[in-house]
Point group: C2
Chain length 173, copies 2
DNA sequence: TATTGTTATACTCTATAACTATA
DNA sequence: TATAGTTATAGAGTATAACAATA
């Protein structure tokens, strides 16, 4: 029940504070994608927070676990992070004795990344949290919904990749 | 063809630079969601760039168009932007004579937002670009894919909303 | 000459606290 | 007392340029 008055000059009459319409925005895939991704990511950050891990750190642990001896620049490229910004990320995990950098024999400019025992243990705990997170999402999607969503997202990826500033890129989740 | 040597001490033997495996990461919805959203968003930013508009600015124009006289705080809340960070956003559009702020009669603390003719014209052009962008995405999703994706994303939203730092939030696309 | 890792730097986005004027 | 808008500020994340060591 907002009181209505005449608007004069730069002054405005009332507007029902009721509901705000998204207008055409509500019908766009990109808009929905961004809104949902933001919320999902916030949930994931909160879950990983219990282990004092950030998404990019967790992703790096997974990546090194899946590719032992991965070069630093390869890891950066795979996660879509500039090599300059990658330095601090790797060093923080190194200081926590989660992973190790070893100079490569073949190319002494580069480092090879390897998980340390502590990194493997933390990764196991983080993956358990990630699995719980994923289960929450899957529960919302209904039977087969998770697989159908992944399929559709991969179709999208095939077309939009290499549109990002760095060419074919990834995200630091 | 990487040469293989024995690793000794902190030195590492070679690793085929071939392909980097994502490992378990590749199977998570959140990971796919983030990667694809990042790429789609970059494409959208590039499209809007032709009009010297950023996503958040465009969204605000759409929102005010759909809700004339919207209060500043309502717009900020609907777009998931802190009111403090919203000030600069509104002012930039005001300086470009795209929208106008009018003091509300009923509550003289607040501003009501209205599009100006220039804002309506720019919005029309931006919406055309957005529609092209959306068509590119829809083309990748196949017949009915767009609608199925929107449906799945909305199911996700229903569960994850209000997990974000600000409670029930939106994103500034 | 080109590449890997590094430093420094800047720009954007975001989050919070404190103030003002109004309510 | 509480709220709308504002200011100031600090923290992330990200992008580029330049350098040393190595190829």
């Amino acid at each position: 029940m907002a009181s209505k008055r005449r608007s004069r000059g730069r002054v405005d009459r009332d507007r029902d504070a009721a509901e705000v319409s998204l207008g055409p925005l509500g019908g766009y895939v990109g808009f929905a994608l961004r809104r949902i991704q933001t919320a999902v990511f916030a949930d994931f950050i909160a879950a990983l927070g219990k282990l004092d891990l950030k998404p990019a750190q967790y992703s790096l642990l997974e990546l090194v676990d899946a590719n032992p001896g991965l070069r630093q620049w390869q890891a950066a490229a795979a996660l879509g992070i500039q090599k300059a910004n990658f330095v601090g990320l790797v060093r923080k995990l190194e200081r926590r004795s989660l992973l190790q950098r070893r100079r490569s024999v073949a190319d002494r400019r580069s480092y090879a990344l390897h998980l340390l025992p502590g990194g493997r243990r933390l990764l196991a705990a983080a993956r358990a949290l990630h699995d719980e997170h994923e289960s929450r999402l899957a529960g919302r999607l209904g039977s087969g919904g998770r697989e159908r969503l992944l399929l559709l997202l991969r179709r999208l990826a095939a077309g939009v990749e290499s549109a990002a500033p760095g060419g074919g890129r990834a995200a630091s989740l």
